[in-house]
Amino acid sequence: MASLLLRQSLTKTKPTAIIRRFSTAAALASPTEYEEPTGITMKGVKIPGRPLYLDMQATTPVDPRVLDSMLPFYLSRYGNPHSRTHLYGWESETAVETARAQVAALIGASPKEIVFTSGATESNNISVKGVMHFYKEKKRHVITTQTEHKCVLDSCRHLQQEGFEVTYLPVGSDGLVDLDRLRKEIRPDTGLVSIMAVNNEIGVVQPVEEIGKICKEFNVPFHTDAAQALGKIKVDVEKWNVSLMSLSGHKIYGPKGIGALYMRRRPRIRVEPQMNGGGQERGIRSGTVPTPLVVGMGTACELAMKEMEYDEKRIKGLQERLLNGIREKIDGVVVNGSMDRRYVGNLNLSFAYVEGESLLMGLKEVAVSSGSACTSASLEPSYVLRALGVDEDMAHTSIRFGIGRFTTEEEIDKAVELTVKQVEKLREMSPLYEMVKEGIDIKQIQWAQH
C-alpha cells in the first residue's frame, strides 16, 4: 500500500498542483518567496541551491526514523499523558514512560531520575537557580567556568544579583579547566559546581571524571551541561559522579523544544521548581508533557546508543579530511582548543590575516557559524575564545565547522574548496599579508597616528 502511494506521488507533478480553489490548506502549501527554480535569493545573496549544512552544533536535522516515531502522536494518538481515565491518556503515558527509559539507558541512569523539560536551557536554569534557592540557608557559593553556555552564565549573574557569590574559573589556552584551581576554590559553603562536558563552540571535552571525583571528595553537587555530549561521547552518570545533568533533544537528531534533566536519587539532590503548576514530572516541572517531542527524543537516544560507534569512526575520518584538506592548501590555520581532548565533530579554526565577517560573507554556499549561534547577533568576538586567550583579530576570524551523521565526503571536499578559495582571495587583497610575506613582524609595527 505504501509503495503504491509512493510511486503515485513521485510520478505526479509538483505538490502545489493539487491545491483546490476553496481549500484551507492553501496557506501552508504556497511556495516561499525566496525560492525560484534557478536558486535562492535572500538578504541580497544569490546561491544556486540550499547550502551545505555544516553547523551541527547549532542544531541537527531530524533523523527520518525519529520523525517516523513521532508522527502517530500528532495524527491519531493525540492524548494528554496525564489523562488517567481513557485510552488516549494511557497510550500517551506508556509512550512517555518508554521514552524516559530510552533516555535513561543512554546515560546509565534509572528512568525515575529523568525529568522532561523544554530544552537544555530550561534544565540549566532549574539546576543552577533551583539548587541554590533550595539550599540558600547554608550554601552561598557557586563555581563555574568562563566558557559555559550563556544560560548558565546568565543564571549565575542572576544569582549574584540576589546576593550569592559566584567564582568563574579561568581555562587554559587549550580550553581545559585547571583541576588544582578548582580544588582550591571549593569552600565549605559551595552549593554547586557547574562545568559543561563538551563545549559547543570549541568542542573541548572537559575532564569530567576527575572533576566528579573532586566534588565527591568535598561532597559538593556537580552539575554538567551535557547537551553537546549526549550520544556523541560515552556518558555515564555513575562514573562521572554527577548530581544533575542537562540534556537537549535537538542536538542528537531529535526534535526542537524538548530536553531532559537528570537528577540523582542516591544521594538525593533537591531543587526548587521554576515552573509551578499541577505537579507533573514529580513537581519539578509542571505542565503537560509534550508526547510527540518526548517520543522523538527517546527514539533519538535509542538510535544514538546503537549508532554511536559507527558515527564516531566516520566523523573522525571526515574531520581529518577537512583539517588536512585545508592545511595542505593554506598556512596560518590555527585550531582553537585542545586537539587531543576534543569531540571529533567540532572543528573551530582561525585563519590568520583574514577578516572574519568578509570570510563568512563569502562562504554563503556552506552553512557554518562563527562563534556560537546564541552570540552571533552581537559584533563582539566570542567570549569563549577570549577566555582561551586568543588574540582579538584571530578570534574574529574563527569559523566553527560542525560534522554530523549525515555529512558526506563530497560536502567536506566542497567546503574545503570554498574555504580555501575565499581565504586565498581575501589574503590576496590584504596589505597586512603582503607585509608578512616580506618578513615584517606585524606586532612590532608602530602605527603612525594621523
Partner: protein, 118 residues
C-alpha cells in the same frame, strides 16, 4: 511475533531486502538522507555478513525489514514536503553514483554469500 521468525533468512531474501533498501534510498529527495541511507545499508549488510548464529541472523533480518518499512514511509513524507530548490549538489550526482554503488555492492555481497554458504 510469528514463530517462523526464528529461522535464518535465505540468501535470496537478504538480497531482496538489500535491493529494496537501496531502491528506497534512491527515492529520498533530500541529498543527505539519501546518501546516509545508501551508506548505512551497505555498511550494515557488510557488518552482518559474517554472522553464523541463526537467531542473530533472524534478528538482524527482521530489524532490516522494520527499517525498510520506516524508510518507505519517510521517503513518501519527505517527497510531500520537498523544497522547491534542492541542495547544491542537485539530483544528477545521486542517480549516477547509486547505480554504480548498487552494482558493486551486489557483486560484493553475492561473493560474500558464496563464501559463507559454501
Amino acid at each position: 511475533m510469528a514463530a517462523s521468525g526464528v529461522s535464518a533468512p535465505t540468501r535470496t531474501e537478504v538480497l531482496h531486502l538489500y535491493r529494496s533498501l537501496l531502491r528506497v534510498a534512491r527515492q529520498f529527495c533530500d541529498y543527505n538522507i539519501r546518501e546516509y541511507t545508501k551508506r548505512r545499508t551497505v555498511d550494515a549488510i557488510r557488518d552482518n555478513k559474517n554472522l553464523t548464529d541463526p537467531s542473530q541472523l533472524a534478528a538482524a533480518f527482521s530489524d532490516g525489514k522494520a527499517q525498510l518499512e520506516v524508510a518507505k514511509r519517510q521517503a513518501l513524507v519527505y517527497s510531500l514536503y520537498a523544497p522547491k530548490v534542492v541542495n547544491i549538489f542537485g539530483v544528477t550526482n545521486a542517480s549516477h553514483s547509486s547505480l554504480g554503488a548498487i552494482w558493486i555492492s551486489v557483486v560484493e555481497l553475492v561473493s560474500g554469500f558464496m563464501r559463507f554458504y559454501g
